[in-house]
């Protein structure tokens, strides 16, 4: 499965959820599939997806759908602290790890994940884990882990290395992302008919 094929499924599955997205190719490819106010793109800040998810999960209104994170192997391994922190604080959230065993936005240099089983790392830290190597299992495992309560979920999604061609860079002032995402968050617990339009 290519990253963009996984993102096509995930864009649909996460449509009603706050979604924190790791930087560069993953954010760009997701935005090219579907750009939406519920997407919080981290334009830099490698390694921070799990931490930002944790903060959102702890701070969100309880009626909001579960926080989902789309993280990469290189980014997670830059701040693997998020795994024990998740096991300790037990925020209800779901991290989807798109694992291509390389720093996909950094010249394809190798990460540890070809040698280190990141799903086992998450499980050892207390996360509920699953693995989805294709679009069908991505749907079923995502649905299963979304139902987990009392601890965070971790979905390991092996993908092919390489980035989709001709995807434009996300040249957005981050404050616009803050603005549209926080407005979406504030209105997300209301029935969909009463939501403000926040498209920019």
């Amino acid at each position: 499965m290519k990253r963009i094929e996984a993102l096509e499924v995930l864009a649909e599955l996460t449509a009603q959820h706050p979604v924190v997205v790791t930087c560069a190719a993953t954010s760009r490819e997701l935005a090219s599939v579907k750009d939406s106010d519920n997407h919080l793109y981290l334009l830099d800040s490698m390694g921070l997806v799990g931490s930002v998810m944790t903060g959102l999960a702890l701070g969100r209104d309880a009626s909001l759908p579960k926080v989902v994170g789309l993280e990469g192997d290189g980014s997670l391994l830059m701040n693997p602290n998020v795994l024990p922190t998740g096991g300790y604080l037990k925020p209800e959230m779901l991290m989807v790890l798109l694992d291509n065993e390389v720093y996909g936005s950094t010249a394809g240099l190798p990460t540890y994940s070809s040698e280190v089983n990141v799903e086992e790392l998450a499980a050892a830290a207390g996360w509920a884990t699953g693995r989805a190597p294709d679009q069908q299992s991505l749907r079923s495992e995502y649905a299963r882990l979304l139902q987990v309560t009392g601890r965070p979920g971790f979905l390991h999604v092996p993908i092919e290395a390489g980035n989709a061609a001709e995807i434009p860079k996300l040249l957005i002032d981050p404050v616009r992302i803050t603005h549209r995402f926080s407005r979406w968050l504030a209105s997300a617990d209301k029935p969909s008919g009463s939501r403000e339009t926040v498209a920019e």
Binding site: M53, G55, Y88, V175, T178
Partner: protein, 197 residues
């Protein structure tokens, strides 16, 4: 409120003052008075009394309460506490200043760039009263690191009393929300009633 006599050294020499609250308690009281939604911390001996007061006032014990929890590293704290702003809340961090090296990329690319208010209180290790021969190398440079990256900071030390520390922390929380940016309060506990490492 803790009421006990407190000895500290003013600019003009040794003075004996009667104050109503310790420095650490005043900082903790200011955090909660500022409606900080959650405080995450990375421990240090010197800042531990602030954490203990935050926890005690929040009905907890042993370093944990409903709104106060430890984290493993400063950049994580910036990620977690900064995200509170997206939910319309103010997050707080209590840490030691030698962690700003760890925190700086997250502070700049996340909270500063995304315009997220955040209140940070950090004890200082780079100057008077410091025994550790290595920690100066990072801590002494912290004000200039913050200045170079455009992160607003305020400095407190023995020259003002606990009430002033509390007032500065409260106004720093307000300033963070007015400016939509992180604000750092650096507290030197040397020659206060505080504990040095």
């Amino acid at each position: 409120m803790v009421t006990r006599p407190l000895e500290f050294f003013g600019e003009s020499g040794k003075e004996r003052l009667q104050v109503s609250i310790s420095y650490a308690a005043s900082v903790a009281e200011a955090f909660w008075a500022s409606d900080v939604a959650r405080v995450v911390y990375i421990p240090s001996v010197t800042v531990a009394p602030v954490i203990e007061e935050l926890v005690r006032r929040d009905g907890g014990a042993d370093g944990v309460s409903p709104r106060v929890t430890p984290l493993s590293r400063e950049e994580e704290a910036v990620g977690v506490a900064g995200a509170a702003a997206l939910c319309g809340k103010l997050g707080g961090i209590v840490m030691q200043d030698n962690g700003f090296g760890n925190a700086l990329t997250a502070l700049t690319t996340w909270t500063l760039s995304y315009h997220l208010p955040l209140l940070i209180f950090a004890n200082t290790r780079g100057s008077l009263g410091e025994y550790n021969s290595m920690i100066h190398s990072i801590s002494t440079a912290v004000p200039r690191l913050l200045e170079a990256t455009g992160i607003h900071y305020l400095e407190l030390d023995r020259r003002s009393g606990p009430e002033d520390w509390g007032a500065v922390v409260r106004e720093a929380a307000n300033h963070a929300q007015m400016t939509f940016r992180p604000v750092v309060v650096l507290g030197s506990f040397w020659n206060t009633d505080g504990r040095l490492a």
